[in-house]
Assembly symmetry: C2
Homo-oligomer: 346 residues x 2
DNA sequence: CCCACATATACTCCAATTGAGTATAAGCGG
DNA sequence: CCGCTTATACTCAATTGGAGTATATGTGGG
């Protein structure tokens, strides 16, 4: 049972802790996540899905998780991240399957536990790392962006498929429970769309067999499909390696929530910015549009920003004043974010 | 290197995941946490501090963390918990030290990672487990309860000690940074007391050497003390085993926050309750008092409760109407809690 | 039986916040 | 200088939220 590198491998039935990072940035008004294409020949049958930057936690080398995360982000992506936050630790058996080869096949037989992290990068951050690429959230979650109203895919594909799934439940009580979840998750009849429920929506779709990962993991509802190919062809959003799409969903939900009570948007902004830039960034993250004049009032009242005195005329019409975030305020955590005003419906 | 029980031990430099649970309940208007006294002879030099119910995660037996947590809570405490939520995963080296003997000395040399959980129990829950006892939060965090105004211990002992610690910083810049943290954490001059910052306050005190654990871990500021005995005598609040007080701090902060946007208070209530009971529970958790009439208005507007039609005259004066929580509403997560109104100062 | 007392519940008031506009300012390209 | 575009300023009504007063309904003592 002895191993060549005990610090990087694990005994059979042992545990490996994987650190995964969602690195988010808003590029040209679109929210993106840094994605990594696995090496050639890896998980080939799964269409070479993207994954998150990922690395095994090495207890001998890393005093804390955060140090470990920062280290491998730097190693894998060339990106400088300031803000880093732990999201959640996933330990379910059966969701982590095909990432087996962490570095080789060291982790065969071990239970893989994922500690997910969220990191924010200002737009400026470019990556020159070999297999890393900024990819829009939209690719993975085409139903989360409501800036142009309700995405067509919801009414056209998601809801019908979910309703069929609900109807397939084994008992009427369970069918009703499924329907209630669908209603709450997607804001049907009367319920409001809660932009923070990203994970709940993804998990619902996973269970219903609408996420390609659920087929891969041999989980979720499979009754409605003729074959694996059929299921994958009809799945929604691009799948990711391992449970990374679940971690991404967690990150988006958390970020959308945090926006409201902590000044995190500014971690995504280049240095001088206009108020409309700021608004567009908030809108990109939260997935819906805001009332311009009120957003302005809000930002000014918050005193989180200060005018630089300069203006930019890139915007077309009247030049916009440039602002900067007042980092001096306190050691961050004190102040209370931008309390996004929610517009009435859409 | 082979072990007798590979699933419960770990290779040298391996990883053991500990699951710790903060089980909270409000008893007679006082918030309590279920604490476990370690077996005789264990960590004797540390005064036999209490710990949280705790168990190693067994990858072969537990499909998910939550299953594992529920299993050992049941095994260790006789308590039925409904609501269970993951808090945070702690992996810092050096904070976990003296829990070495998980069950024997199996984990010698392994890195211990703590996944903290929060569980809520309605008052009714009694425990008959051998070494388990309900203990008030106050014992561990005597500075967190502001229901009778600012606790004396803050002005009398905490702030002076922290100020001295700030002054001992190696550079003036660092001293200023420490002062700013103190100000924000304890709501000094102008800053408001943020009841959610329980963890930040504890970590500050740990760093300043005011928590007995920081001495035990050989960490934190130690300059101001003549000896270990001196440090422990002057430390504030009762220490806990391992990093359990940190997990408890995380739990309290999270619970205080969650109260505001999710209907979790009801998980702590017996079945029919009066509105004043409910208010007292919220106050116990959040640590400050509320305006009675407005709290009432809030609860009624929220429609989270419904009157049972009955009354109770236990309260003394006019009998109070009994209410129950409407569990039918939705699959929990939809509704938005009680949005605690914050009274102006005190 | 009535009165003091205690708590529960109802209602009022005012200030602050917020949603949603309209009006005006200041650049650009012709 | 005009029309277009976007930025910024100001207005207004509705809602919310903090704080207080008034009234209801029980208990226990004389």
């Amino acid at each position: 049972m002895a191993r060549a590198h005990p610090s990087k491998s694990a005994a059979d039935n042992g545990i490996v802790i994987g650190l995964s990072a969602v690195i988010a940035a808003v590029i040209d008004g679109e929210p993106h996540v840094l994605s990594v294409r696995p090496p050639e020949g890896h998980s080939a049958r799964f269409g070479r899905a993207f994954g998150l930057p990922f690395g095994p936690f090495d207890p001998t080398a890393h005093r804390t998780f955060e140090i470990g995360v920062r280290a491998f982000i730097k190693a894998q992506t060339d990106i400088q991240t300031g803000y880093v936050e732990q999201l959640y630790t996933f330990g379910d058996r059966g969701r982590e399957a095909p990432i087996a080869a962490l570095d080789g096949a060291a982790a065969q037989g071990a239970r893989i536990v994922s500690v997910g992290y969220l990191a924010l990068a200002p737009v400026a951050a470019e990556t020159t790392a070999p297999r890393a690429a900024w990819r829009p959230w939209r690719a993975y979650f085409p139903w989360e962006d409501w800036r142009d109203g309700a995405p067509d895919i919801i009414a056209a594909r998601i809801i019908p498929a979910l309703q069929k799934w609900a109807a397939r439940a084994s008992t009427p009580v369970r069918a009703a429970a499924r329907k209630a979840r669908i209603k709450q998750c997607f804001g049907l009849d009367g319920a409001t769309w809660d932009e923070e429920k990203v994970l709940e929506r993804y998990e619902l779709m996973y269970e219903a067999g609408l996420a390609a990962e659920s087929w891969r993991d041999q989980r979720g509802d499979r009754d409605a499909y003729n074959s694996a190919e059929d299921a994958i062809a009809r799945s929604l959003g691009e799948p990711m390696v391992s449970d990374h799409r679940r971690i991404l969903a967690t990150a988006i939900g958390r970020l959308r929530g945090k926006l409201k009570y902590r000044p995190v948007v500014f971690e995504l902004m280049p240095d001088p910015f206009t108020l409309l830039d700021l608004q567009h960034t908030v809108e990109a993250i939260s997935g819906f549009t805001l009332h311009k004049q009120n957003f302005r009032r809000l930002v000014e009242k918050s005193e989180l920003t200060e005018p630089t005195g300069q203006t930019t005329s890139k915007s077309g019409g009247r030049p916009a004043a440039l602002f900067r975030y007042r980092r001096d305020l306190v050691s961050d955590s004190a102040v209370s974010g931008l309390a996004i005003p929610r517009p009435k419906l859409k």
